[in-house]
């Protein structure tokens, strides 16, 4: 049965919710899809904080729309994940207890307006590279959610780059602010592609199930090669003294990621890990009475209508 299953995936057939699947396939997908959903939801926090402080109405409506999209993306992904037989409440519980992970990038603070530019340009840029590959993944509901998400995501990166571009063309203080944001977000963005291929434990299995099309290192290189010219275009400097075009390879050589920092943040010791989870918990706990009241109201209305009918 497992051989038939693997064969279906190898032949580019999709797996749908009611199909038989190995337990490991189900578990791995719950882990990855929920992690992805949690990243969208937690990703709303650093940006949500800047909506009321956006410098113009144009920036404000764009940021508001972007954060709303992230909420929507989280919802598409939670729905896809629930088709694997886990409830929404269990998923939230896993996030709030720390059992489930989310993208570590969101454990860095967004301290200036320029961070809204850097996040859109770099963090969303890195996310798009990861996500495009997933539009073709083997689990149908996940692939369909990714297609919707990718369609909506490109506006996120463009609005971020436009913020950086505007700041870089502005006063010396504005340009310095843009450079400072790039300095702080560059390395966390590279970390978004995960550990090196040598250290990545899930790669082989994920390739087989089409949860991955390219390795972490290949995707990271792709991101660097596409982003460096963009930085040059707006006159900002990538904070890596080892960055250098390698004409033989046809790509950039670059420095070393601080893996110690990477693992510290993954393990929960990043600058904002606690703050993010406590904000999520607070929202969930404080919203409980609203969820309960809405349910009671709906049930009462249904009973009233039933009584009226008889």
């Amino acid at each position: 049965m497992e051989a038939i299953f693997e064969n279906r995936i190898a032949n580019d057939q999709k797996i749908e919710p009611k199909d038989w699947m190995p337990e490991k396939y189900r578990k791995t997908h719950i882990r990855q899809i929920s992690q992805h959903a949690h990243s969208e939801i937690v990703g709303m926090l650093p940006e949500g904080n800047w909506i009321t402080r956006a410098p113009s109405l144009r920036r404000k409506v764009a940021l508001l729309a972007k954060v709303q999209d992230e909420g929507g993306h989280g919802l598409y992904l939670y729905s896809a994940c629930e088709t694997l037989g886990i409830s929404r409440d269990e998923l939230f519980e896993q996030l709030h207890s720390g059992e489930a992970k989310y993208s570590s990038t969101f454990n860095y603070p967004a301290v200036t307006w320029a961070d809204m530019g850097a996040i859109g340009w770099l963090v969303d840029g890195a996310a798009i590279i990861n996500q495009v590959a997933l539009c073709n993944t083997s689990y149908g509901p996940y692939a369909r959610a990714m297609v919707r998400i990718c369609k909506e995501e490109s506006f996120h990166q463009r609005q971020g780059f436009e913020i950086m571009l505007t700041l870089a063309k502005g006063t010396p203080e504005q340009k310095a602010m843009a450079q400072d944001a790039l300095n702080r977000w560059w390395w966390p963005s590279l970390m978004m592609f995960g550990p090196t291929d040598a250290e990545s434990v899930h790669t082989e299995q994920s390739m087989k199930w089409k949860l991955k099309r390219k390795s972490n290192d290949e995707l990271r290189q792709q991101f660097i090669d596409q982003t460096v010219p963009q930085a040059e275009l707006i006159g900002l400097t990538i904070p890596d003294p080892h960055l250098k075009w390698n004409p033989e390879k046809g790509s950039y050589d670059w420095g070393e990621i601080n893996w110690n920092e990477f693992w510290q943040v993954v393990k929960g010791y990043g600058p904002c890990n606690r703050e993010r989870i406590s904000a999520r918990r607070k929202a969930w706990d404080n919203g409980k009475w609203v969820r309960d009241a809405a349910m009671v109201y709906a049930e009462k209305r249904e009973t009233d209508e039933f009584k009226k009918a008889i």
Binding site: W20, G72, L75, A80, R148, K288, A294, M295
Partner: protein
């Protein structure tokens, strides 16, 4: 407290086309499901009409029964126009 039930969302992208399933969401009742569906699935003019259906109301065929359900159609090639041999001179039919 009881969890909010799950609803399936179907969107008609424009008049003349059918409603298509586009995902699901949680809501306490049909009114809320419609409002949430509007916000979650039609933020960029994706629809002109929405249906919401309680997921529990859907009866789905089981993949294990696919053989007996769908295979009988496979050996009925005569239901397709290409089954019939017609002379090449006949350009349109």
């Amino acid at each position: 407290m009881k969890n909010w039930p799950l609803w399936e969302v179907f969107v008609r992208s424009k008049n003349g086309l059918e409603h298509r399933h586009c995902g699901s969401l949680h809501a306490t009742d049909a009114t809320m499901a419609l409002e949430n569906a509007r916000d979650v699935y039609t933020r960029r003019n994706e629809g002109v009409s929405i249906w919401v259906v309680p997921s529990a109301a859907i009866t789905a065929s089981n993949p294990e029964d696919s053989g007996e359900l769908f295979e009988p159609a496979k050996d009925k090639a005569y239901r397709h126009p290409t089954f019939y041999n017609l002379p090449d001179e006949l350009k349109h039919m």
